[in-house]
């Protein structure tokens, strides 16, 4: 009787043993810092579920501001985010590098990098990354095609920016201080009917006869998503834990 029971239970026991996630243990820190700062990789933009174009690099410093080798850095982020690796020791230049993929939800993802000080206190660094959904991806493509040459100061030999040539300066779409004050209706008006619709310069042309309503909505969704500081009204999602 017991034998039968055992045979019946065996697969269940084996299965339950297997399904337990083996979480890689963090290494023991060899040194402790006093502060953690960003080296590069914050405020990147990518599509939902895809890796950030550049890895995130953070640096641990001591109280003199000098880089600390062998300090333990741990990254945490919202559900769905993939951190490769999620923890590790800083390299000889005091840096810790992680390749990060964002989750399925369009929105802003906050990543927290933590290191321990000698006294056992945690010091944090918060980084933000942006994941574009379908609508914002479409908006970013339209921005590339129609808007970026005027609204983006970045210039390359293949794509020379027109920003410096404009008598009235447009705002980069990341400039939340200005753009967040404009309502969706304002944005729709100036994009559809041009600068004069809001008593602004005609150097901003109307795009309402070129782009469809849903394309203009996509552009606005994109503008809202990349704005810095973030645009907080409903419609933008903060991907949380």
């Amino acid at each position: 009787m017991t034998r039968i029971l055992l045979i019946a239970l065996l697969p269940a026991i084996v299965l339950s043993a297997c399904s337990g996630h083996s979480t890689a243990a963090s290494p023991e820190p060899a040194a402790y810092g006093a502060a953690i700062v960003e080296s590069s990789g914050g405020k990147q933009i990518t599509e939902v579920g895809t890796p950030l174009p550049q890895p995130v690099v953070v640096q641990v410093n001591d109280d003199q501001g000098a880089a600390v080798t062998g300090a333990l850095v741990q990254l945490t982020g919202p559900n769905g985010i993939y951190l490769d690796p999620a923890s590790g020791l800083t390299d000889p230049s005091g840096q810790f590098t992680s390749n990060i993929s964002l989750g399925v939800t369009p929105g802003r993802y906050q990543i927290v990098a933590t290191t321990k000080t000698k006294s056992g206190k945690n010091v944090d660094l918060k980084l933000e990354e942006i994941a574009l959904g379908y609508q914002e991806v479409l908006g970013s493509q339209l921005n590339d095609q129609y808007c970026a040459r005027c609204h983006n100061q970045e210039s390359s030999p293949e794509r020379v920016s027109n920003y410096d040539n404009l008598e009235v300066k447009p705002h980069p779409f990341t400039e939340g201080d200005t753009l967040n004050k404009m309502t969706d209706a304002d944005l729709t008006a100036i994009i559809s009917h041009g600068g004069p619709a809001l008593n602004k310069s005609p150097l901003m042309a109307p795009y309402g006869y070129t782009l469809s309503k849903s394309e203009i909505q996509s552009l606005i969704a994109y503008i809202r998503m990349v704005s810095d500081p973030p645009y907080g009204a409903p419609g933008i999602v903060y991907a949380q834990k």
């Binding site: 009787m1 379908y134 609508q135 040459r149 040539n165 600068g195």
Partner: protein, 689 residues
């Protein structure tokens, strides 16, 4: 105790007399009956629906939300698409835009997309088990024939099931599809589109029939071992050949090569040799390289290690270590002599110029590339073995090789790869057991699946691997069965051929390498399909003689081909008569003679109402616009009819143009046309030239 004995005891104890038997049976029945409702009560979906009701009860628009909410199992059933989805049973808020701030699943509304949920369901895009009503069953795959939820990074693949054409909102899928063609995947793997057409490659692997004329066996050996060591941008993958195998393949390729009929001009060769070793002469030759706009198509690594130049032709950083001088002078003179199908234009260089360019290119070499490389003369056994290897690796799938037939279906067909059942896949160690991980791993490191596999190693970035995986996932069973009315078929490839003498010239100059006409050709330079409606004859004649860039911010790319006057006239007449838009009658408006009042009105509209100076330059002293073409001479370049129609609707004449449509009145458009046609540059100076 044995089992039958046990059973007997059990029966006696509980079912010994009829009363107790009845009692026990009833009890068992009751318990059984209770299982179904209990299971329901404890089921995932009921729990989620109760959670949703709690969530919405706290919202300000609770009444509306509750009115929309339907309890019980929900189902989207679309027989035409084979969709039976119960996902909305738990994902109750899919269409509730006011819940956009909710981040808790399964209550988030669906992010905006161009389709209605009730028309397409969920699994069509997200995969997973549509009919399941528990979290585990719906999202994970536990059985071999089931599909897990598709990770977000491959979602665009689902768009590709119906949309066979590029979509603006799916950059990743577009890239993956382009790569399937550009990296020649489809030379070996057949991929049929749902309309039955086969995807064709856009790369152009060279024919190897005359390879011995072009290069040395040593170079072939080094290239076979590691193509990217010669050129980081080489699209040929690495076959991870052993030294012996590379030795034998190079032996076979060289021995099977037949001589091409190349024109050797000794004076060109002498000039080339002189220039190759002389720094001052090099500088002079480099200006011919620049003037001929070779860099529009070919890249060269500069001192800082950056590639500068186009990617239509091969990189030339180390070309001097590759090609034979005799071959190069013939190629520069007329590439069609060696390869009739090449995309490189036939520049009409004289023998001196041919020598200059040849010498300039021969100096671009890398002494380390073939250093310490010595191959003994090939033996017949090695050559025979080389031929066997060429067959084994399917080299002739891409390259024309004497004595080797192009293999049919060399590698597995991939028409349905995106729905291949997991139990038919052989996984490499460490690869997650699902289709998308399999495809990604196979592209990234094919030989990890078995050292004897023939698929070569590419050097793709992780995002390129993801793009290719997405493109392949879109080729699946479902894509083949979706009713044609619901799909957007691929654009049929254009086989347009211009006729007559001009047609021969267009082929000789390979205009299609850069320009598209009637759906055929490249996208580096403007589409010429309607060029005949837009430009004036004199301007076009002058442009062929001495091409110039029209846009201040654009690098000039159009080369001067040293055409004869007769050739220029042939091309110009053909373009002006054949490449006409049905929407524009080029002779319907005069080029000059507009009343000064109208010109003045046009000027006002230009600067104040329409703000054209933000993108264009007319007055070089004050205007700075850098996006559109410079308009200082537009009145002697374009036809008035084209300008007028352009004002009315630019995208109707050139789809995708950056210039927005302004919904201009006819009067405004006419006035602007009058103003623009008055911009004829400094005519006195023009006349002197």
């Amino acid at each position: 105790m044995s089992l039958p004995e046990n059973l007997k005891k059990f029966r006696q104890k509980f079912f010994g007399n009829s009363v107790s038997a009845f009692g026990w049976t009833s009890l068992i029945l009751l318990i059984l009956l209770a299982i179904a409702p209990a299971k329901n009560f404890f089921s995932d979906w009921l729990r989620y629906q109760r959670g949703y009701e709690r969530l919405i009860s706290r919202r300000s628009d609770a009444v509306t939300l509750r009115r929309h909410f339907e309890s019980g199992i929900q189902q989207i059933w679309l027989p035409e698409l084979g969709v039976v989805d119960r996902c909305t049973t738990c994902h109750s808020a899919m269409k509730e835009a006011t819940l956009a701030d909710v981040s808790l699943q399964p209550y988030r509304p669906h992010p905006p997309i161009p389709h209605k949920l009730e028309e397409f369901g969920c699994v069509l895009c997200h995969r997973g088990q549509g009919t399941a009503t528990s979290v585990e069953d719906a999202h994970k795959s536990t059985l071999a024939w089931e599909e897990p939820i598709l990770p977000a990074k491959y979602l665009e693949s689902s768009c590709g099931q119906c949309h066979q054409r590029d979509l603006q909102g799916t950059p990743q899928l577009n890239l993956g599809r382009k790569m399937l063609r550009a990296y020649g995947c489809v030379h070996c793997h057949t991929i049929k589109q749902p309309d039955g057409s086969v995807i064709t490659a856009t790369d152009d692997p060279p024919s190897l029939t005359h390879i011995a004329d072009k290069t040395s066996r040593e170079w072939v050996f080094a290239w076979l071992k590691d193509p990217q060591a010669y050129s980081t941008t080489a699209t040929m993958p690495n076959f991870k050949l052993s030294d012996d195998d590379a030795r034998d393949i190079s032996a076979f390729l060289i021995s099977s090569s037949t001589p091409a009929s190349l024109k050797l001009v000794q004076s060109s060769l002498d000039t080339a040799k002189k220039i190759k070793d002389d720094a001052t002469l090099q500088t002079k030759a480099s200006s011919l390289y620049g003037e001929s706009f070779c860099a529009s198509c070919h890249a060269v690594q500069n001192a800082a290690g950056n590639l500068v130049g186009g990617n239509i032709g091969p990189e030339l950083t180390k070309v001097g270590s590759k090609v034979r001088p005799e071959w190069l002078q013939a190629w520069v003179r007329n590439p069609h002599d060696y390869d009739p199908a090449t995309g490189m234009p036939h520049y009409r260089f004289n023998d001196e110029q041919v020598g200059e360019l040849t010498g300039f290119l021969l100096a671009k070499s890398d002494a380390d590339l073939l250093a310490n490389l010595h191959l003994d003369a090939a033996t017949p056994e090695q050559i025979a073995h080389g031929k066997r290897l060429v067959n084994d690796y399917g080299c002739a799938s891409c390259h024309e090789i004497n004595g080797v037939k192009r293999p049919e279906n060399f590698a597995p067909e991939l028409t349905k790869i995106g729905s291949k059942p997991v139990n038919q896949l052989a996984f490499a160690p460490g690869v997650d057991h699902n289709l998308y991980s399999y495809i990604g791993a196979k592209i990234k490191q094919p030989r990890a699946f078995g050292a004897s596999l023939k698929m070569p190693q590419y050097t793709f970035t992780p995002s390129q691997v993801d793009a290719l995986t997405s493109a392949l996932l879109s080729h699946n069973e479902r894509a083949l069965t979706i009713p044609a009315a619901k799909t957007v078929p691929a654009l049929p490839p254009s086989h347009y051929e211009p006729a007559g003498k001009a047609g021969q010239l267009i082929a000789d100059l390979n205009c299609f390498s850069c320009h598209a006409i009637n759906g055929r050709g490249g996208d580096m330079a403007p589409d010429l399909t309607w060029e005949g409606s837009s430009v004036q004859r004199d301007w076009l004649l002058q442009f062929f003689r001495d091409p110039n860039t029209l846009r201040p911010a654009l690098i000039r790319r159009m080369p001067k081909f040293n055409l004869t006057d007769a050739e220029i006239a042939t091309l110009t007449d053909y373009i002006l008569t054949v490449y006409q838009s049905p929407k524009v009658d080029r002779d319907s408006m005069p080029l000059t003679g507009y009343p000064p009042g109208q010109v003045e009105l046009g000027k006002q509209l230009y600067y104040s109402k329409y703000g054209c100076q933000s993108c264009h330059i007319i007055d070089t002293k004050q205007d700075k616009g850098y996006i559109g073409p410079t308009l200082t001479h537009v009145g002697s370049r374009l036809t008035a009819a084209w300008v007028y129609n352009w004002m009315k609707d630019p995208a109707a004449l050139r789809p995708g143009t950056q210039e927005p449509k302004r919904n201009m009145s006819d009067d405004d458009a006419r006035a602007l046309t009058a103003f623009l046609m008055s911009q004829r540059g400094n005519e006195k100076q023009e006349a002197k030239r």
